[in-house]
Symmetry: C2
Subunit: 467 residues, 2 copies
């Protein structure tokens, strides 16, 4: 299935780069085996592919110096945040220098009147929201992990709030980027919108470190809603839950979160988060607005859910209860992992037009049952996006083959339904072939852009596009 190249000894020209980098960074350049091992691995099952060295940087200018040195020796550069990627994004497939961005973790500006902020890439989403708390503002994008903002930009991350607030695509106003030749650019101004030239901001959002290193980010922020109401409802099957979601969106009810949790996931979550919820197909919802608005929306949704057989509709505005609920949702991947301690998580996602979502999930569940594999499903169903968490013993090739079959069938099914091979995880090197299946001729345009901006292919080579 995945062919991980064997680690190669550090080539001569990389050693030259490392010598120069040591002169620049001193102790902040490490070549220790344990450090390299750690920085060659993300949260996925993909093996560690250690870089030749790890450089810890402190500023945009320093990143530019590091990249300039690496460019001189054609030595690969791989930016690293929290290491919570899921498709082998940080694996040093061709060796080179990992740039640890996590000490660039300053919140540079918060512009309350403009509802925006400027942060360094090592700031995590929780750190940012802690910092914002007294301003009445918040940043809504919330992947499961407490990821770095830089990593979230690089993978075009989203999470449970995307149905209301969009993904990183919609919420990055501007980026500072170090290009492959060491040049520093700023992709945009702080204005909310612009028609001035090519949308370089969006080109770097989701580029997975393959076009440049992101060193500063301007983000949109939002006012914390006056009232937040969370709700849960149970459904007889996936189809009725998805139909509820479709009619809710069509009706223009401004739902902030709409999460589907299947029976297997409910069981895992109950066990892990010490909850006692019914083990059924469930929608987890949230409404943001004024007190009466949130209440009205919750009631409208309850009525729609009722039409499709939804029941046990319960809702709360209590902050503690809400937090408990959503922490459990964010911990779903860990909850799944706990179901099979000797298994490795293979977390993957697809996204389809919502009219095909129920079919896509149900057929995938049928595959899971037939293959006798543990693979809970949760989904950001308002976006048509769902996650499959395969729990696999990677030492058992036969089981890996069965898991691989489910995975391949699911992605190809999503593509056949006009969907995408990944809604929010990215390509890394785990989904290279699916990118080609999805985009066809457009991949050649991506490659033209890559070649023009990084002619020596030093920026995270082998990710998104095969090296």
């Amino acid at each position: 299935m995945f062919s991980t190249p064997a680690p190669v000894p550090t080539p001569e020209h990389h050693l030259s780069a490392i010598d120069e980098l040591r002169a620049l960074l001193g102790d902040r350049l490490s070549t220790s085996a344990s450090v390299r091992e750690r920085y060659g691995k993300d949260e996925s099952f993909h093996d560690s592919m250690p870089p030749d060295a790890v450089a810890t940087v402190a500023s945009t200018e320093e990143v530019a110096e590091v990249v300039t040195i690496c460019a001189k020796y054609k030595c690969p550069v791989i930016p690293y945040g929290t290491g919570t990627a899921l498709e082998g994004h940080v694996a040093a497939l061709h060796g080179g220098v990992c740039i640890n961005m996590m000490e660039m973790n300053e919140i540079v500006q918060v512009n309350v009147e403009d509802l925006d902020c400027v942060v360094q890439p090592g700031v995590t989403r929780k750190q940012l929201n802690e910092h914002l708390r007294d301003t009445g503002l918040f940043f809504p994008i919330d992947p499961g992990a407490d990821a770095s903002i830089g990593g979230m930009v690089a993978t075009r991350a989203s999470g449970t709030n995307a149905v209301r607030y969009g993904t990183m695509r919609e919420n990055v106003l501007s980026l500072t980027v170090v290009m492959a030749d060491g040049r520093i650019i700023k992709t945009s101004r702080r204005a909310r919108k612009s028609s001035a030239g090519y949308d370089l901001t969006r080109l770097f959002v989701g580029s997975e470190g393959t076009l440049g290193v992101i060193t500063e980010i301007t983000l949109r922020l939002y006012g914390i809603p006056e009232c937040i109401t969370s709700a849960i409802a149970n459904f007889p099957d996936v189809e009725s839950a998805v139909n509820t979601v479709i009619l809710t969106i069509q009706s223009g009810i401004p739902v902030a979160r709409m999460e589907l949790v299947d029976e297997a996931s409910m069981e895992a979550i109950n066990n892990y988060s010490k909850l006692d919820m019914p083990v059924r197909t469930t929608l987890w919802l949230e409404f943001h607005g004024s007190e009466s608005g949130a209440k009205e929306n919750a009631e409208s949704l309850q009525m729609i859910a009722g039409e499709f057989g939804g029941e046990d509709f319960s809702w709360t505005s209590n902050m503690e209860e809400r937090n408990k609920l959503w922490q459990a949702r964010h911990d779903a991947a860990y909850a799944c992992k706990a179901m099979r301690p000797n298994g490795t998580i293979w977390a993957t996602d697809v996204c389809v037009p919502i009219s095909r979502l129920a079919e896509c999930i149900s057929q995938t569940q049928a595959d899971i049952r037939e293959a006798d594999v543990i693979a809970p499903i949760v989904g950001h169903v308002g976006d048509g996006n769902f996650h499959l968490t395969l729990l696999v013993d990677h030492d058992d090739p036969e089981e890996v083959a069965r898991a691989n079959n489910i995975h391949e069938r699911m992605v190809n099914r999503a593509l056949a339904m006009e969907g995408t091979c990944t809604g929010e995880h990215g390509i890394g090197y785990g989904k290279l072939d699916f990118l080609v299946a999805e985009h066809g001729e457009a991949v050649s345009v991506m490659r033209m852009i890559k070649n023009s901006l990084d002619p020596d292919n030093i920026m995270n080579p082998g990710k998104i596009l095969r090296a």
Copy 2:
């Protein structure tokens, strides 16, 4: 100020392209002087720069054939929609073939459950909304003109609803594009979100025909709100109106439209649209939601406006009254033109962080008073975007110089305030120098992309980037 190159006679190699195109298209290729004149001009004051020929096309495949022929002879290609651009976007600065897209005006698919549709580029925004009426869905982006969707994609257009629904940037799901070598690509799938590879969709949104010809567009749609309420309030000055806007957005009140209309514009609108509104600094607002929600939002806004001296707050849910109001707003540019029948409209826009908006508008108004020029201002203030409509007698060089001075000072002021030289009109060839002032080194990255995708510079040459 603007140096429009003198029209050149059709060069030999363009004639060869035209011969081949005539064989392909027959009557649908025109070289008549009047047709060429018309297709060389948009709604701006920029003179007509006629193309060598106008090709009317019927399908993506035909566009690919036209571009392939033009590429063979290195003959420029300029796509043309409704001709309502404002920065000389369609001027054939280097001759070549104008592709008239307006007969590709089919609505290909409406996917009601998925809230999306697929349209050809010649469909106009009003045509689309007419078509959608019975589905309960609508497409919110509304530049002043009844522009073609293809043109709106190409200029990254927006309008009065952007504060709630975003711009074309946020509302295009996928594009079919004919590249400079005649290749056809599809930039994305129909899924709501994706992390699969570079965001080619956003690269083409706002590319003004310089990277490829857009031949099919998948758009997001929205449910028509249960209740729409429009409101008007008067303010003592721009600052109090803008402060009302800032606090409204911070409070998370979901306003759908927030338009500032200054005294000069109010006078023009009263005259043109036969209305009798107070000639004061005015906010025009709209709320979308449930009946009680829209009412509650309007009331919250009224309270906030009151804090800043806003008065004469009047609101209506009556459809006829609402339509009259917003038609008057959309006709504002024509209303301005009517104020000075012998003048030419010079419509320009900038966008700044909203905290700087009042200052930017007030200083611009002071310049206008001092220069004794007629130049009403309207603004999509929720986004920090405003429009200046200079009414200039272009045969009076001294007056043109005064207008030019106001314009230059306004754009540079916006740039100094971390703003952009255009919020929604685009660069065309009218703002080439401002693009460089705004983006600096990043322009070289835009040029690398342009060179890689269009090495012979045949796609709308001289727009966005100097040829």
